[in-house]
């Protein structure tokens, strides 16, 4: 390298770790300590300009145009011809670490509803483009969920707020700080009696310390938390059972029998990625010697976890606590509460369950759902105790959330104070209470009463609109911070890019409150940890922490606790619920209502994220909307029907009956949607829709469920009135048809059946002899890429879909196009139901391009735009495609997607930065499809060729494979008999989709194996 005056070379730490692609660095390593000190010394010699801090990385933003112009950085099938003489713009000072055209990987964490998940972020020339899981982080294990994948889009979202606004007028940071200080002065006098701080769930040690500091300065100030209130019941339950707040987590790899009381732990839990992995690891057959686990689910709404259960009991929400009580009693828990009678059907089910549990003492787990009342949590703890699971499969630690309070109560107090005008100065750090708070507290009208309020947020949203001051927040990929995972593990979050829109972090705002406005969050976080550190060489420790993506040994150690005798439990909640049931008993038809965060946009925080809006929600496969979910029986009772649209139809438009919902005097309207397997006499409504100020994407989609909710019944209401309005509403559903029509697309059996006869799948005629062919067939010497997808492991979480979209520059087409059946996902998760519609079996089948060896699509392409590569890939050449769409017609799997319009955004600058430079951005009129992430294959091959070796197994991971929480997708070289994929394909459970067509797909599947309890199954 030429510039000798650059900072010192890298420490050794920054070597590629096993797995090839996981190759990331800490910013500090990049800096080299001298330059770093120089920076801290606030003296920056012009030519010592490595990107040592956010400040310098701002340079990259200036150069972004440059990096786009750099060769190969933006692959695109331009709609317009390239400019005659394109400019090429080099750096003035090239940062030591930047090798133009090569990505770098940095470790940080995403705060998912407060809880951290370790991630690695791919950065091209200083622009983060893709998020992967951090294999070494306990809450990630290398996997990610859809939301994490889509968070990069959130970073570049052009609708993010860019300016400080004061009562709607644009202002400056200085103006803000001076205004703030003025207010604080007056507060000092009253020791902050009028100062209120509202945060979401806080797990950040630094933030916590800062808040403590502020409460020290302003003793009378109050810190409120409101994050939807998902954690409240669990906290109450813990207090009820242990007399103290405790965090519960489970070690599912040791659990043979899992009972979930309405807990959607595979999707909605800070540890869901880990749980999914552990849960599935016990079901991989063959491969595990230990016996497969069995999941019993008791729930009302049809959750993702429920759809993966071996046995599922769909009962109305008010009945769950009662059933829990009975179950507890059967398991020998002493309780005062009277035991309600249960139906014989349930009786039998419960009997079998109890037997199963008793047979697996210490190897089972009872998991209460976060939305179940405290009593259920308490009972679960008691049951786990009774079964001797505590310390084996169930663990308790100190709460990860700092100062864990009851959010509902906290919000109530705040509103009260606002009403009494006790709260004069309100600082809101993130969150969007004006939208998320239940209607009955009427937060908006109270908010405006305070005489000084500030809202720090990514968007100028509903809350900002009501505030005196809105200040833009830095995205987590722009921020220095720290966060704890479900088990307390701390990750130091490092920014990947300077704040695009000049946002600031909560740390910086709190620092300002403490009168240190000049401190950067980098200093704040680092100084905090310097203070904590016992290391003699803090810098080294700090660098290691950043490099690894977590602070070693920061996890909480499990507490050795024992629940109080259950008799002491306050069963009032139980009564309340039962009374709900009672109410229901007398005035039929009264329907219960369940509120849940939307699987994609959660409580609305991701409402403006097009990727997530267009992501077909698990089970319903709806996009761009929420709906009133109900069982077929309930729908029939209410006369709710649907009509398949003449355009799009099952793959696009469904006209649903609009219903009017009335709860507690408040009304709203939404489309009714029939979900097989939903419990009768109750409906589920997803939150996060009906946003009024979300941005160009998310505004005015769906309907707002918060308009119905009350603070007491955050997640469940006992009697809601539903009326059919007669109107219809077009919902965009990507897969309405849920039957397999007797075609064996997903092959399934039971684990017992498998053990009896492992080859049971192969006993079909078509499988026996090899498909006849006239053609000699091609030899693939060298690599032959193939994929194996384990239907048994797929939980249907959509992570692969989002990951694929992010990796391959997938466009967002919008609801109108989805209605026509034109969504652009290269991989889709097909959902099929089987059996009794009131409680069906569910199967998920991810369908990417099968890369057929006798590809029907190639044969019919008139211009040879899709051909076969020497490694057996079914190449798609966008720039050769003329768009006859014949290939799509002839694709039996219908995995090809077409750019009917100019879907890719060639205009918005910020979105250009998001692009993966190694994948062509498709223009109008061309076909596209899954390529097995050929860009990754080529990179790996080139890397291997350069050090004259072969690509080793596992070196190449496709985007879908990398994201998958359960490792259901395995990719590799099928010419190498030792490779994981070859071995999977050799297994008796392996089968191909539609092989009778002699397409000879390279992608094959592993059959689904359920593990039913014979007692229930054969009843």
């Amino acid at each position: 390298m030429s510039n000798g005056t650059e900072p010192a070379n890298l420490p050794e730490a920054s070597q590629p770790t096993a797995g090839g692609r996981e190759y990331w660095r800490s910013l500090e390593e990049l800096a080299g300590t001298e330059a770093f000190k120089a920076l801290m010394g606030n003296h920056l010699p012009r030519h010592a300009a490595a990107w040592t801090s956010a400040m310098d990385r701002r340079e990259f933003l200036k150069l972004m145009g440059a990096s786009l112009a750099l060769a190969g950085v933006s692959g695109c099938l331009s709609p317009a011809p390239a400019p005659p003489d394109e400019k090429i713009v080099p750096y003035v000072n090239q940062p030591e670490e930047i090798v133009p055209g090569k990505p770098l990987y940095f470790a940080t964490a995403i705060p998912a509803e407060g809880y951290g998940r370790g991630i690695l972020v791919e950065s091209h020339m200083g622009r983060p483009t893709k998020v992967e899981g951090n294999p070494q982080h306990p809450a990630s294990l290398g996997a990610t969920d859809a939301g994490t994948q889509a968070s990069v889009l959130g970073l570049y979202d052009p609708d993010r707020s860019r300016v400080i606004s004061n009562a709607g007028r644009v202002a400056t940071w200085d103006a803000f700080f001076s205004a703030l200080n003025a207010e604080l002065e007056s507060q000092r006098v009253s020791q902050g009696a009028g100062l209120r701080i509202l945060t979401e769930t806080v797990t950040s040690p630094t933030l916590a310390a800062q808040l403590q500091e502020i409460l020290r300065i302003f003793p009378k100030a109050k810190w409120h938390q409101f994050d939807g209130g998902a954690g409240d019941y669990a906290q109450q339950g813990a207090r009820m059972a242990f007399g103290q707040p405790l965090e519960t987590f489970y070690r599912l790899e040791d659990a043979d029998v899992i009972v979930s009381l309405d807990g959607d732990f595979l999707l909605r839990s800070p540890a869901s990625l880990r749980y999914a992995r552990e849960f599935i690891n016990r079901r991989r057959i063959p491969g595990t010697s230990s016996e497969a686990n069995r999941l019993y689910m008791i729930e009302s709404t049809f959750s993702l976890t429920g759809s993966n259960a071996d046995h599922r009991l769909a009962i109305s929400p008010s009945a769950i606590p009662q059933l829990a009580t009975t179950l507890a009693a059967r398991l020998g828990v002493q309780i005062s509460a009277q035991q309600p009678a249960i139906s014989p059907a349930h009786e039998k089910w419960l009997g079998a369950l109890v037997k199963d549990l008793q047979a697996h003492r210490g190897r089972s787990a009872i998991m209460p759902g976060e939305y179940q009342p405290a009593i259920v949590h308490a009972l679960a703890h008691a049951m786990n105790d009774a079964l001797g699971n505590i310390g084996k499969t169930v663990f308790y630690t100190d709460p990860v959330a700092v100062n864990a309070t009851n959010h509902a109560e906290s919000l109530r107090e705040l509103v009260q104070d606002l009403e009494d005008n006790a709260a004069q100065v309100l600082i809101m750090l993130g969150g969007n209470p004006a939208y998320t708070a239940p209607a009955d507290v009427d937060f908006p009208s109270h908010l405006v009463t305070s005489n000084f309020n500030v809202h720090l947020s990514l968007y100028e949203d509903e809350t900002s609109a009501l505030c005196h001051w809105h200040i833009p927040q830095a995205h987590y990929l722009e921020s220095w911070s720290d966060v704890r995972a479900y088990d307390g593990t701390v990750t130091i979050m490092q920014p990947l890019i300077a704040p695009l829109y000049g946002g600031r972090t909560a740390h910086e705002i709190l620092a300002a409150l403490a009168g240190q406005a000049e401190r950067s969050s980098y200093e704040i976080v680092r100084d905090y940890w310097r203070g904590q550190s016992k290391e003699k060489n803090f810098d080294a420790a700090w660098r290691t922490a950043l490099h690894d993506g977590f602070v070693a040994g920061s996890a909480f150690s499990p507490r050795n606790v024992k629940p109080k005798p259950a008799a002491g439990f306050d069963a009032s909640a139980l009564k309340e619920r039962s009374s709900g049931a009672a109410v229901k008993a007398q005035n039929e038809p009264s329907i219960e209502v369940i509120y849940r965060p939307d699987p994609s946009v959660l409580d609305g925080r991701f409402a403006n994220n097009g990727w997530l809006q267009e992501l077909p929600k698990p089970l319903t496969k709806l996009t761009w909307d929420n709906a009133v979910l109900m069982s077929p029986a309930t729908a029939a009772k209410l006369g709710i029907t649907y009509q398949v649209g003449g355009t799009g139809g099952e793959h696009g438009t469904i006209y649903a009956d609009v219903v009017e919902l009335e709860y507690d005097g408040r009304r709203t309207r939404g489309p009714g949607w029939i979900v097989p397997g939903h419990a009768d006499d109750c409906v589920t409504i997803h939150l996060g829709y009906g946003r009024r100020r979300a941005g160009r994407v998310g505004t005015n989609l769906g309907f707002n469920a918060n308009a119905l909710r009350t603070l007491d019944t955050l997640w469940h209401g006992t009697s809601i009135a539903i009326r059919k309005t007669g109107a219809q509403y077009a919902l965009a559903c990507t897969q309405f048809h849920h039957l397999m029509e007797g075609r064996d697309l997903v092959r399934a059996g039971t684990i017992d059946g498998y053990h009896k006869n492992p080859k049971f799948l192969r006993e079909r005629e078509s499988e026996k002899e090899a498909p006849a062919t006239l053609y000699p067939g091609y030899k693939y010497d060298g690599y032959a890429w193939g994929m194996s997808i384990d239907v048994n492991a797929c939980i249907g979480c959509n992570a692969c879909v989002a990951a694929c979209h992010a990796e391959n520059n997938g466009p967002v087409v919008g609801k109108k196009e989805v209605l026509r059946g034109r969504e652009m996902h290269w991989i889709r998760v097909d959902r099929y139901h089987r059996g009794d519609p009131s409680n069906p079996e569910t199967y998920y089948q991810p369908v990417p391009c099968m890369q057929c060896e006798n590809a029907p699509c190639e044969l019919v392409c008139p211009v040879g735009a899709t051909t076969h590569s020497q490694e057996g890939l079914n190449d798609m050449v966008y720039n050769r495609c003329v768009g006859t769409r014949y290939c799509s017609n002839n694709c039996p799997y219908k995995v090809r997607r077409f750019n009917f319009f100019l879907y890719s955004d060639f205009k918005t600058e910020s979105l250009k930065l998001l692009r993966n430079p190694d994948v062509t951005v498709r223009s109008r009129g061309v076909m596209e499809k899954c390529t097995y992430c050929v860009q990754r294959i080529n990179q790996a091959k080139i890397a291997a060729e350069k050090d004259d070796r072969a690509v080793h197994d596992g070196e190449i991971e496709t985007a879908c494979q990398q994201a998958c929480p359960t490792r259901a997708i395995i990719f590799g070289n099928i010419n190498d008999p030792q490779s994981q994929v070859s071995q999977l394909k050799a297994q008796p459970l392996s089968y191909g989709l539609l092989t009778e067509l002699n397409t000879r797909p390279r992608t094959t599947y592993q059959a689904k194996l359920r593990n039913p309890n014979p007692e229930i199954e054969n009843g």
Binding site: E858, T867, H868
Partner: protein
């Protein structure tokens, strides 16, 4: 040869039969450089005035063969020689798939050969021709039939030929300006 004062003599008839007869007589008389004109094809007329075989079919055959061989080789070259690439696992030379285009090209070239062949042989286009100088000739495309003996013919001799034409029942004999 020196430019003749006239192109030839033209006799008019009112029926194809008459023309046919006249043609035969003229041929028997030893006239060779002559031509008969009729509003529609009259069987045997060409033979009558001594024209027997046409080369059109041969031309068409050649065209057809060119199309056939060229057509197949084009596809073979593209698929096997120029850029051999695996298409849906089919062999490079998947000749069955090459048949339709081969066939179409055969027909195409044969047809083109036929069309342009006949034009060429007939020396068309020829918008100007002496026979048009005869006023009555416009009826050759209506209901009249003409026989024209060219002055270039060796035994053409104006008066004698005129008499001969009148004998064989010409309804009117006209001199054709060159």
């Amino acid at each position: 040869m020196a430019r003749l004062p006239i192109y030839g003599l033209m006799a008019e008839f009112d029926s194809p039969e008459a023309l046919l007869e006249a043609g035969r007589r003229a041929f028997a008389e030893g006239f060779r450089r002559m031509d008969a004109y009729s509003p529609f094809p009259v069987d045997g007329l060409a033979e009558a005035i001594g024209f027997h075989r046409t080369r059109v079919p041969l031309i068409v055959l050649i065209g057809g063969l060119l199309g056939c061989i060229g057509g197949f080789y084009l596809q073979y070259w593209v698929a096997v020689i120029d850029y051999p690439i695996n298409i849906g696992g089919r062999p490079l030379n998947s000749w069955p798939s090459f048949i339709p285009v081969t066939f179409e090209l055969t027909i195409l070239l044969a047809a083109l050969a036929a069309f342009f062949g006949v034009l060429a042989l007939n020396r068309l286009p020829m918008p100007y021709h002496p026979v048009f100088n005869v006023e009555r000739f416009e009826l050759a495309s209506r209901n009249r039939f003409f026989l024209c003996i060219e002055a270039a013919d060796t035994n053409f001799e104006l008066e004698r030929t005129r008499r001969f034409l009148d004998e064989i029942g010409s309804l009117g004999t006209y001199e054709v300006e060159p």
